[in-house]
Symmetry: C3
Subunit: 431 residues, 3 copies
C-alpha cells in the first residue's frame, strides 16, 4: 500500500490525545488577536468542531414558511449527519436523523419535498409513521423487535417562526431563556405569516469561523458599496475623539437619525434595547435594532421599502433593521417589509455553505408588491463580496508565514465570538 493512512481514530472526542491537541491550539490563541492559522486548516480541530460545536449546539436551519403545510420537509447535512425537518399534519415540527434503521439509507433524498402520512424508505420500503415509529418492514419477522427501530429523533425548538435543531442527546438548556427575551423583538415581524420570496445557496471557500468573523464586524463595510447605502457602520462604543472630521460629520448624522428612529420604535411599541449575550452561555446571541440611513425604511439601494405590504401589523416602514445573531451558525435582518435569514453550515475545513432566504408577507405578490431584483440586490451583492473576502482571508491565513494580528476596537464582536468558541470547546472537553 502506497500512501500512509491512519487507522486509529485519534479524533474521538474522548481521547486524551485529542484533548491535548485542542488544548494546545486554544492555548496558542492570544486574546485580542486574530485566530492562529491552524484554526482554519487543522483536520482534527475541524472534526472536533463538527462534533462539539455543530453536534451539540442549537442550529438555525430554516424558518417555518419553508415548510408551511403538513408533510412538507427539508433535508440538511449537519457535518456528516444527514437529518430532515418535517411539519406534521397537526402543524407541529419534528426532526429525525435521515438514516433508515434497516441498512442506513437516506429516507428523504431531495433538498425539500412533501411526504404522505408515512415515510417510506425508497430502498426496501420500510415504513415509518410521522412519529418515527417503524410500522412496516416487508418481512414477516425481524431478528430485532420493531419497537426498537424508531427513527432517531433530533431536538427541535421554534422561536417566533424560526426553526432550530440540536443533535445532542441533551441540548443546551438556555434556549427558553433566549426565546423569552427575543420573542418581543421578533413576534411583531410575524415570520409565520410570511412566505419565501427567494433562497440562494452560496459556497464560501473558507473556514466557517472566517464566515462568522466576517459577519461580526463592519470594519470592512467600505468594501460593501450597496450595503453602505442603508447601513451605518457605527457599532458599539464610538470614541468621538478618534474620529476624523469626515467621520465625525457622519457620526453626527447617525446620532440624529438614531434619535428619530428611537422615537419611532417607541411609537410603534417595539423593543429596541441592545441585548448582547454573545458568550458566557452555550446559545450565544445578540440583538440590536439598527437605524438605517436615507429614507431609513429598508435594506435597498434607495433605502425605501422593497415590498409594498408591510409585515405583521406594521403601519410605519421606518423601523430600521432588527439585527439578530445566534452562535454558531446564523444571523438575521428583520425589517418592516421583509426579513433576510442567513444560515451557515461547514462543508469541510475550507468550505462553508451560506444559505440566504428572503421572506415577505404571505399575501405579497411579485411584480405587484415587490420587485425581486430590488428586494434581493443588497444581500446578493454583499454576499458575493463577503465570499471573496472570506476566501482571501482563508488563503492568506493558511500560510505558515501568517501571524495573527491585533483586532481593532470595532472588531469587538469578533473577539466575543472567539471567547464563546473557546469556552464551548473547553466545556465540551473538560479543559
Amino acid at each position: 500500500m502506497s500512501a500512509a493512512v491512519p487507522f486509529r481514530d485519534p479524533a474521538r472526542t474522548d481521547s486524551t490525545a485529542l484533548r491535548e491537541h485542542v488544548a494546545a491550539l486554544l492555548d496558542s490563541r492570544r486574546r485580542g488577536y486574530a485566530l492562529p492559522g491552524a484554526f482554519f486548516c487543522d483536520a482534527a480541530l475541524y472534526a472536533a468542531e463538527l462534533e462539539l460545536i455543530f453536534g451539540r449546539h442549537w442550529l438555525f436551519v430554516a424558518s417555518e414558511p419553508e415548510i408551511p403545510e403538513g408533510g412538507d420537509y427539508r433535508t440538511f447535512d449537519i457535518g456528516p449527519y444527514p437529518i430532515f425537518v418535517l411539519r406534521r399534519d397537526d402543524g407541529s415540527i419534528v426532526a429525525f436523523h435521515n438514516t433508515c434503521r434497516h441498512r442506513g439509507t437516506r429516507i428523504l433524498q431531495q433538498p425539500a419535498g412533501v411526504v404522505g402520512s408515512n415515510l417510506v424508505c425508497p430502498y426496501h420500503r420500510w415504513v415509518y409513521d410521522e412519529t418515527g415509529r417503524l410500522i412496516g418492514c416487508g418481512a414477516s419477522e425481524l431478528s430485532a423487535p420493531m419497537e426498537g427501530l424508531r427513527l432517531k429523533s433530533v431536538h427541535v425548538k421554534r422561536l417566533a417562526g424560526l426553526i432550530f435543531v440540536c443533535l445532542a442527546a441533551e441540548p443546551p438548556d438556555d434556549f427558553p431563556a433566549m426565546a423569552a427575551q427575543m420573542e418581543p423583538y421578533l413576534l411583531p415581524h410575524a415570520v409565520a405569516r410570511t412566505r419565501v420570496a427567494k433562497q440562494i445557496d452560496l459556497i464560501e471557500h473558507g473556514n466557517w469561523k472566517l464566515t462568522i468573523e466576517n459577519n461580526r464586524e463592519c470594519f470592512h463595510c467600505a468594501g460593501h458599496p450597496e450595503l453602505s447605502r442603508s447601513l451605518f457602520d457605527f457599532f458599539g462604543d464610538i470614541q468621538e475623539d478618534a474620529l476624523s472630521p469626515q467621520e465625525r460629520a457622519a457620526y453626527a448624522s447617525f446620532q440624529t437619525a438614531r434619535k428619530a428612529a428611537i422615537a419611532g420604535w417607541e411609537r410603534a411599541g417595539i423593543p429596541w434595547q441592545l441585548i448582547e449575550k454573545l458568550h458566557g452561555r452555550p446559545t450565544g446571541f445578540r440583538t440590536d435594532r439598527l437605524v438605517l440611513n436615507g429614507a431609513g425604511e429598508s435594506m435597498t439601494m434607495d433605502t425605501r421599502r422593497a415590498c409594498a405590504r408591510l409585515l405583521g401589523n406594521f403601519t410605519d416602514a421606518r423601523l430600521g433593521s432588527l439585527h439578530f445573531h445566534v452562535q454558531p451558525n446564523a444571523w438575521f435582518h428583520f425589517l418592516a417589509d421583509h426579513i433576510v435569514t442567513f444560515a451557515t453550515l461547514p462543508l469541510d475545513a475550507g468550505r462553508t455553505l451560506v444559505r440566504t432566504t428572503w421572506l415577505v408577507d404571505a399575501a405579497a405578490q411579485e411584480g405587484r408588491d415587490y420587485d425581486l431584483e430590488n428586494l434581493t440586490r443588497i444581500w446578493v451583492e454583499t454576499n458575493k463580496q463577503d465570499a471573496t473576502l472570506v476566501e482571501e482571508a482563508h488563503r492568506g491565513a493558511s500560510s505558515p508565514a501568517y501571524e495573527p494580528g491585533p483586532l481593532v476596537g470595532s472588531e469587538f464582536m469578533v473577539g466575543m465570538f472567539h471567547s464563546w468558541y473557546e469556552e464551548r470547546l473547553r466545556a465540551a472537553l473538560n479543559l
Copy 2:
C-alpha cells in the same frame, strides 16, 4: 507545514496496529445485521481491502470476446495496481503489471488497443516480448542484467470464456474446483463465440461493499420496474405462510412457471441445480438458473428474446437466466440470446466502478438481429436505479447516527457475503 500529515504507514498489512484495528472493526460487526458505518468510510480498512481482498483474490476483468485477436489488450486499475491483459498470437492470454522495469511508466496507456509482436514502453523505448522478457533498452550496458528485468506477471485463469486475474504471488487454489463445477453451466452459452454489443462504465458513489450487497438481494426489486418485467423476486426458501394473499398468487404463478422451466432445461440438457458456495472458501461463488416471467425468454421489456440469433447451439429461447456471481467483484446473467457481465472495482472508499457488457452471438448484426436499445434497456435503467440506491445507502450509513439494522430473510445472501468478507480478512491477517 499546515495540516498534519501522517508519515508512518500503519496500513502496512504486517503491522500489529493494522491487525488490531481490523480485528476491532470485525468484532464490532453483529451477525444478521447490516455492516457498521466504519466499514464504508474507514480509510485504513479500505487500504487493507485493496491489498487483502482485491490484491489476493480472483477478479473477473473481461470476457474473451473483448480481446478476440492476437495483440489485443485491455488495461485495468486494480486499486493502485495498473495491469494489462493481452491475447498472444498463439491465442493464449497473459497479464502483466503495467509498469516498465526502467522508471515505472505505464507501457500500455489506452483502455484497450492492439500491440505488435513486442511491447514498447513509450517513454524510453524499452522493448519487451510477449512473454514479458526485456529484449531492448536502447543502451549498450545496464547496471543490472536484462534477464532480471522481465515484466512482472499477473496470474490469469479462463473459465468458459471469462477472464479472471489474481495479483497475489500465490493465488487461491480453489479456482479449478469452481471451474469444474461451472463449466457445464456456462459452456453451452458459448462465450467464446460472442462479440461485444455494448459496454458501459458507471461510477456508483458508494463503497464497493454496498454495490455487492445491493446485488445480493432482490428485497429492493420493487424499485426496478423494468427489471421486474422479467425477474421474479423469489429467492431462497420462501415461507408461504408469511406471504400476503397478493404475494401468494404471485408465488403460485412463479411455481408454475418454474416447473415448466425445469422441464425445458431438462429437455435442453443444461444443468440448473443451485450451487451455493458463497463462503467457506476464497473464491466464493453461486449459480442459479432463474425462471423468467411472461414469455420467459430474456431480460427485456417484453420478456422475449432481444437477439434473433441464439447463443451456442440453443434452439429454444425459453431458458431463463443463468445467474452466476463470484466474490468479490462480479456477477453475470447468461440468457439464451445474450449475456450480460458485470465487473466492479473500487475507485476509492466512496466510489465504485461498475462495468456492464452485453455479449451477443458473434454473427448477430445490429439492426437485423437485434435492436441495441431493446437489448440494453433493462440493465441500463436498473443500473441507474441501483447507483442511486447505493449512493443514498452510502450517504446515510456514513452518518455517525447510523446504527446497523437487522437483515430480513430475503437478504440471506448479503449475510453470506459478510461472512465471506470477514473470513477473508481474518485469514489474511491471521486473526
Copy 3:
C-alpha cells in the same frame, strides 16, 4: 466522527519521527536506479519537500520583463505560502509574503497587476508602503505597535534579468558564486531588453521530481518529433563504440556541426564551456551551449530564427541554445532570437505546474518580426508530450508492484538530481 483524522503534526520538520521516516526513505534509494515509488506518493515526504526543498532554496519565479514598470506585481503560491514580487518605483524588486498582518488576508489577489505607491489590503484597508511598513490601519489605536507589523519579506536575487526568491530566513549563500559564473553566459542575451511574447501554464499530473527528471535527460527525445528537428540528443560522454551504424553517422554529423558552432561562439565572443555543478551545493546548476541541427539558428520547425530581431547586440543567429538549469525548479533555453523560461512549482504530490514563457526583443512586433505560432510551436508540442510522459510515469511508478530500474548512461543528470535531492534533505534534517 467517522473517518480517522490525525491531529498531531508528525510532519513538523523538527520531529524525530519525521527525521526517521525521511531517513528510511532515503536509505531505501539505490544509487544509479530510479527513485522508489514512495518518493512520488508519500504525503509526509511531500510536506517535508515543501518546507525543506521549496521553502529553503532559491526558486526562479519570473523574469524581469514580466514586471517591467514600477508598481507591477505578480503573485505566486510556493506550496502553502502565498507571496508576491513587486517592482518598486525606483526599479528595485522586492518580494513579500502575501498575508496581511491584521487577519491574514491576501493583499494582492490577482495573478498579476499594478499597484499604486502603497499596498492596501482589500479587507480592512490596512495600508503598507513599498517597503512593507504598515502606515495605516483605520483605527486610532492598536494593541500592538505598528512598527512590529511590517509585511514579512521574502529574499530576492536577480541574475541577468531572471528573478529568484527564497523563503528561508537564511537563504543559501552560494547564489553570488553562481551569478558570477553565469552572467557572462546570460548577459549577452539581454533579458532586461525583452518582453513577454507568450506565457502558458500547464499542469502535469505527476510528482514534481518526475517533471525534473524528465527534463534532465534526452534519452526519451525520440518521443519529441518537433523538438528533434533542432535538438541533437547527444549529451555527456558518448561512447562511440556503443553506437549503432546509424547513430554513428548522426554523431559524426553532430561533431561536425559542433565544431562549426564553437567557431561561431568564439567569433561572437560568448562563453560556451560546460559548467556542471548539479550537486554538492545548495543551488545546483548547469549550463551548456547546445549546437542545433539544420540551419542551427533556433528551436523552430525549420531550425531558423523565429524572430527577425535578434536579442541584445547579436548579429549572427547561429548561436545554438544556451541551456541553463537551476535546481530545484527551473530551466531555460537562451537563443539568439528568443528565450524560453520554464518554472515549475508543485501543486500537490501528484500535480506540478509548469509555466513556460517566451521572451523576444522588446522592439519586436508580432506579425512583422515573428509569427507567434512558429515561435511557440516546438515547446507547446514538447510540453504536451512531456506532460503525458510524466503522468504515465507517475501512474506506473505509483503501483506497489513498481520496482525502480537501472538508469542508463544518458540519464546521468537524473542521477545527479537524485544526489542533490538526497544531499539537501540530509543537510536540512541533519541526517
